[in-house]
């Protein structure tokens, strides 16, 4: 499984052509306690960088964008019921949605972990 990162602090974890999307530990820390999550609908077709989920922390509203183009195949309802999961386990139980990626080369073009860590350092 490869994981890639965007400049907007989303990650996408690839398993075959299915990518699990969420926000990084760095992003959740910057946002503060999440209190609301609105997920995209399953079946929705997302363009790269399109706003997919809406999140609200105690401080501000933000969007989770699709790191690459794809179709939403599953959303994590657990974080809708308990948004704090995104804070406590952003890259595990706090994932947002899964997309069926149309172009694997687009994923490869995103930052790898080393490059992402250098970006936020």
């Amino acid at each position: 499984m490869t994981t890639r990162y965007t400049e907007d602090h989303e990650y996408i974890k690839m398993d075959g052509d299915i990518g699990t999307v969420g926000i990084t530990a760095f992003a959740q820390d910057k946002l503060g306690d999440l209190v609301y999550v609105e997920q995209p609908k399953v079946g929705r077709s997302l363009a790269a960088k399109e706003d997919a989920a809406i999140i609200e922390s105690v401080k501000a509203a933000a969007e989770v964008k699709a790191p690459v183009a794809g179709e939403v195949v599953e959303v994590n309802e657990a974080i809708v019921a308990d948004p704090s999961l995104v804070n406590t386990d952003p890259e595990g139980a706090g994932w947002f949605f899964k997309i069926k990626v149309t172009d694997a080369t687009a994923v490869a073009a995103l930052h790898d972990e080393t490059a992402y860590k250098a970006m936020i350092a």
Partner: protein, 376 residues
């Protein structure tokens, strides 16, 4: 980023406590500590929280004519504030709008004013130009201000007071000079969270020692500006520059309670403050008040924030949200805004335009979380 931020006397303490610092009203202030906004909010409601509010302005008015002079700037009974008592007030302008809101405490010797950080330069200039010839205006930049709030505030303060009875003697909106951690402080039983609690004016040089002594008491946590905002919003308290400004009158803001009878039409000292004709006109003829500040409750859980427009059922714009966010105690969105008077009655259903989607919200009374003031 050429702006140089001022530091409060507690800056080093905030940093050592792991605070995240942000610019606020020209100061480098703690928005949150490692506990985080949500838990800081809940901790304050359940136990006690210590806030640094040293960015606020503290001004003293000295002289026998000070109270009467101040009455020319606020629609409030200042002369009637007994020694040891505190009162909420508003500086108004000629149009009946609000220049700032403030607290006035009568020490017995002089009036101690606390004004908003963002307005303090303008407030001081206003005081000097309008009543500087009637009383002595002392700007107390040498004083810091901290707030201890929550149901555990009383016992925490008793723990650092030389005479604990000086603390328990106070009820809501009373104050006294009390020795805390060997420092003489001006303590009032008031605050900005809706909870029981105290605001403590302390010499800047001694502030850190007093703050550390209070933080060493059981169940006291440092609380940042993030939780301060969600606490005041749940308590239904206005934030100047958002819920109040130069275009809103005290009547539109439903702050009628802040204007005592003696300053109203028919009162002994009726009028005589800026904008009196507008403000008293609205008080005397409620039908002329076109909009009112209300609480709003949505059906869903999406927070609705400042600037979101409000519409009636037929799509006419009837108002705007002035403060909105998530209320951790309410465990849901809390919203304050202005609506046309016809839609201001509790129970009225209107729509908030949230990201282009009309979202049903209901007008509700405030506060959203019950107040915990110690009134007796």
């Amino acid at each position: 980023m050429s702006e140089t931020l001022a530091k409060t006397p507690l800056f080093d303490l905030h940093v050592s406590l792991g605070a995240r610092m942000v610019p606020f009203a020209g100061y480098d202030m703690p928005v949150q500590y490692p506990l985080g906004v949500l838990k800081e909010h809940l901790h304050t409601r359940a136990h006690a929280g210590l806030f640094d509010v040293s960015h606020m302005g503290q001004v003293e008015l000295h002289g026998p004519d000070a109270a009467a002079a101040l009455e020319t700037l606020v629609p409030v009974d200042v002369i009637g504030i007994a020694p040891g008592k505190q009162r909420y007030a508003l500086f108004t302008n000629e149009a009946g709008g609000i220049l700032d809101d403030l607290m006035i405490f009568n020490t017995g010797d002089y009036l101690h004013l606390v004004v908003n950080a963002a307005c303090k330069a303008q407030d001081i200039a206003h005081l000097k130009s309008k009543i500087g010839d009637r009383c002595e205006i002392r700007v107390r930049d040498d004083l810091a201000l901290i707030a201890l709030q929550g149901p555990g505030a009383e016992s925490a303060l008793m723990g650092v007071a030389r005479l604990a009875s000086r603390v328990t003697d106070l009820t809501f909106m009373q104050g006294a000079f009390i020795e805390l951690a060997q420092v003489d402080c001006l303590v009032t039983r008031s605050g900005y969270t809706g909870e029981d609690g105290f605001e403590i004016s302390v010499p800047a040089a001694d502030c850190e020692a007093v703050a550390k002594a209070i933080l060493a008491q059981p169940d006291v946590q440092p609380i940042g500006l993030g939780a301060r905002d969600s606490l005041r919003l749940e308590a239904g308290l206005c934030l100047y520059g958002h819920d109040l400004d130069t275009t809103t009158t005290p009547i539109e803001a439903t702050l009628n309670w802040a204007m005592q009878k003696v300053r109203r039409s028919g009162g002994e000292r009726a009028g005589g403050f800026p904008g009196a004709s507008v403000i008293l006109g609205q008080l005397d003829n409620p039908a002329t008040v076109t909009r009112k500040r209300v609480g709003l409750k949505p059906e869903g859980r999406a927070p609705i924030r400042e600037g979101v427009e409000l519409y009636d059922a037929t799509g006419n714009k009837i108002g705007v949200v002035t403060s909105g966010g998530f209320g951790p105690t309410v465990n849901g969105p809390v919203i304050m805004g202005y609506v046309a008077t016809a839609h201001a009655a509790p129970g009225t259903r209107i729509n908030a335009m949230l990201r282009g989607t009309p979202t049903p919200v209901t007008v509700v009374g405030m506060p959203f979380a019950p107040h915990g003031y110690k009134r007796v």
